[in-house]
């Protein structure tokens, strides 16, 4: 054993390990410099934006910065079931007055209104009172403000202000799951008829799952054919598989619109062969059917290529061996061929599922109301409501979902088993 622990020296007396490190150092630096541009690129275009997105999604410093005195005073507000003490009113009044002078009071009203409905009205009333200089600063501000509107006498509104005190909040994430912080700070569900996000999440998962399934069932035979056909035919077939890749996504989606619409080619064909009546043409677009068809077609190459690359490496003699040993063609396929294609299936399914879960343009164009996905909702908040922090929160939830799927996949199949080509 001692010989193992003894340090081995090179001929000039330097320990072997040191000498090795020295020799390897140059190569290591070279290798690092080669990947450095890519690393930098990744940090700038990927890590940094995700970090920024995260900050945006939890950032709630606006109110914190607007009402510093209020929150300072609120530290002494002991019994939260009763109206706050005079000093809180005074702090709020001073903060609000300053905001009014800087024309910032409207923003506060809107922000507080999101926290609790009705704030906009009562802050505007307060603003008018301040503007008309009707408030006597030497008297009790609590009494005067309470008189402005009955809501100011409602402790729930003051609790709502207090809830906005922390500079960071998870409320956007709760909103993404159709939940919110109730008045007492606990997590509550929104009313059933307003739970749109959960439906979208489920629909996204469902569509991604079925698109993956369809891609698998269509892609597996194609990939097998590609891997076993003689070169001259398989090259042609490969071009057919790759052709969609070389066509613009928008063009492909638009072609599906032409094909699938009610007066479209597919429906015309169905009517022609008498499958459906002319006045009873089925809707194949602006619903889930359209999304399924178009997404399956667009994502199919992502299933075929990894499968093909794995199948290409499986020696045809294995299937022959299976048959010559007495297995029926099905047994030989199921026990020998299929298990060997699992790395390709894993890679293809993971790829298609992850792409499908975040798909945007196709469902937006052919999905209609019942075929849109969570990514369309994110885009909606980015572009229409301009609630970027909510969009960021949902984007991050999507990213987390993908990472969870990846993790599960790694546990089940093992990522080192993935073969992408």
């Amino acid at each position: 054993m001692s010989s193992e622990t003894k340090q081995i020296l090179t001929t000039d007396g330097i320990p072997l390990e040191v000498s090795l490190k020295k020799a390897e150092k140059k190569n290591k630096i070279k290798a690092f410099l080669l990947v450095a541009p890519l690393l930098l690129f990744l940090v700038i275009t990927y890590i940094f934006p995700i970090g920024d997105m995260f900050m945006r999604s939890v950032d709630d410093r606006m109110v914190t910065n607007m009402l510093p005195k209020t929150f300072k005073a609120m530290e002494n507000w002991q019994n939260l079931d009763e109206l706050p003490p005079e000093e809180v009113y005074r702090g709020f009044y001073e903060d609000y007055k300053l905001l009014a002078e800087n024309q910032q009071h409207g923003k506060l009203g809107q922000r507080l209104n999101k926290e609790k409905n009705g704030f906009n009205t009562i802050t505007k009333k307060l603003f008018r009172q301040i503007k008309r200089k009707k408030i006597d600063e030497s008297a009790s501000l609590k009494e005067q403000i309470n008189k402005i509107h009955k809501r100011w006498r409602d402790v729930e509104y003051w609790q709502a202000i207090k809830r906005t005190a922390p500079p960071y909040t998870a409320s956007k994430y709760l909103k993404g799951m159709d939940m919110y912080f109730a008045a007492d700070g606990s997590i509550a569900q929104v009313d059933e008829d307003r739970r749109i996000h959960r439906i979208l999440w489920l629909r996204t998962l469902e569509i991604a799952f079925f698109v993956t399934l369809f891609c698998f069932f269509m892609g597996y035979p194609i990939a097998h054919l590609l891997a076993t056909l003689p070169m001259k035919y398989s090259n042609l077939l490969m071009i057919c598989v790759l052709l969609p890749f070389w066509t613009s996504l928008l063009v492909r989606t638009a072609s599906w619109m032409i094909l699938l619409q009610q007066q479209g080619i597919v429906n015309d064909f169905f009517v022609m062969i008498g499958l459906v009546a002319d006045d009873n043409r089925p809707e194949m677009m602006y619903n889930k059917v359209g999304t399924y068809v178009a997404m399956t077609q667009i994502l199919l190459p992502f299933m075929v290529l990894p499968l093909y690359s794995v199948m290409k490496t499986i020696s045809p003699s294995l299937m022959r061996a299976g048959k010559s040993l007495g297995g029926t063609p099905f047994v030989a396929f199921w026990k020998v061929y299929f298990p060997l294609t699992i790395p390709g299936i894993g890679a293809g399914c993971l790829l298609v599922f992850i792409l499908a879960i975040g798909y945007y343009i196709t469902p937006a164009l052919v999905g209609g109301a019942s075929g849109t996905l969570i990514s369309n909702q994110i885009a909606f908040h980015m572009k229409t409501t301009l609630d970027w922090s909510f969009a960021s929160a949902m984007g991050l939830m999507l990213l987390t979902g993908v990472l969870v799927i990846y993790w599960i996949y790694n546990k089940l199949v093992g990522v080192d088993n993935i073969k992408l080509g």
């Binding site: 022959r320 299976g322 048959k323 010559s324 007495g326 297995g327 047994v331």
Partner: protein, 361 residues
């Protein structure tokens, strides 16, 4: 128990892949039960195609293949009960050694205890006990090969086909595996059809060898006869080493003929020449020509040494003899007291019975 001499029968089998070229032409071949027969030939000679037709992966274009008297051309591979060892072993990489061997038994719905027993027996046959839980990738090439052999035998097939099974092994391992396969064959008496392009492999292992060329069996005989008495110049050329002289028959009687070369005449054994004036290629094994022969030999010539190559157990001498500078002599090292030097003149002699006058090349 009498052995069936026509256990496997190729009856006038033709095979074409493209409808233009026949890769197997009118093959007529009987294989006896328990025989070790080797199909030997250069690549593209049709030997592997024959094997694939027997295994059921290719269908004959014409003719029938019979196994134990039954026509099998329409039986799918998995119902033929023929074991097969593939060129690259074709072990199932995702199964352990045990599972690989159990596969043919499981698909035959053999009981678990019986499977264990048979797998154990097959593994001990190739001396791989204790390797049951290994994956094929954890085995060396030789071990994988032995697993493949065991797998082809574990379900007691009547015929085992081997498609260049030792091609990927290094020389020493290949030789020891040759003996191992030969011994397994001898001990269990299974019929083996073996395909190879390596003539020494064929010579050491087989009962009979079928030499294939151009889709046809050129000669079917036991190893000794094949080497000693090739029936045509292809076989003579393909099996072992060979000195050739191209010439014309000028005189012929029952067991001797005179062949005129460019500027000399030699005596030869007429095998495929019948009459005067025929073109012929005379074939002579290098070890049959002797230096300074003491016995009387009917072909005696003088040649000039062009090259001497030391080979350990023997020395090869290239001579300029009878107008050709490609004449090879094999001199065993027991007689290396001979002083062989380049550009020295030496006397060479051989018997006309060893010089076989075959079809012209």
């Amino acid at each position: 128990m009498s052995k069936n001499p026509e256990f496997v029968k190729f009856d006038k089998v033709d095979k074409s892949y493209d409808g233009k070229v026949l890769v197997v032409k009118d093959l007529q071949l009987d294989i006896a039960e328990g025989e070790f027969i080797t199909m030997l030939g250069p690549s593209g000679s049709g030997k592997t195609t024959c094997l694939m037709m027997l295994a059921g992966f290719e269908t004959p274009t014409h003719g029938e293949i019979l196994l134990d008297g039954n026509i099998i051309s329409n039986i799918p591979p998995h119902k033929r009960g023929i074991g097969m060892v593939f060129q690259n072993y074709a072990l199932f990489p995702h199964m352990t050694v045990y599972e690989n061997l159990a596969f043919p038994l499981r698909v035959r719905k053999v009981e678990k205890d019986e499977i264990d027993k048979k797998v154990d027996k097959a593994l001990s046959m190739v001396s791989l006990n204790g390797f049951e839980t290994r994956m094929p990738a954890q085995l060396s090439g030789g071990q994988q090969q032995r697993v493949a052999v065991a797998r082809a035998l574990v379900f007691d097939p009547a015929v085992v086909l081997m498609d260049e099974p030792l091609g990927a092994l290094d020389k020493n391992l290949r030789e020891s595996m040759q003996y191992e396969i030969k011994h397994i064959h001898e001990s269990i008496g299974v019929t083996v059809v073996y395909v190879t392009h390596d003539q020494s492999e064929a010579l050491t292992m087989s009962n009979r060898i079928a030499v294939f060329n151009d889709g046809k069996v050129q000669q079917l005989s036991n190893p000794a006869e094949l080497y000693e008495k090739p029936v045509n110049s292809f076989v003579a050329e393909f099996i072992g080493e060979n000195n050739t002289f191209n010439g014309e028959v000028v005189d012929i009687d029952k067991d001797k003929c005179k062949v005129k070369l460019a500027n000399s005449e030699i005596l030869a054994n007429p095998i495929s020449v019948k009459s005067k004036g025929e073109k012929t290629t005379v074939s002579l094994r290098p070890e049959r020509a002797l230096i300074n022969p003491t016995d009387k030999m009917d072909n005696m010539f003088t040649g000039k040494i062009e090259e001497v190559i030391y080979h350990g157990d023997h020395t090869r001498v290239r001579l300029n003899l009878l107008g050709s500078s490609e004449f090879i002599l094999k001199v065993p090292n027991s007689t290396s007291n001979l002083e062989l030097k380049v550009s020295q003149d030496i006397n060479i002699g051989w018997n006309s019975t060893d010089a076989r006058a075959l079809d012209p090349k």
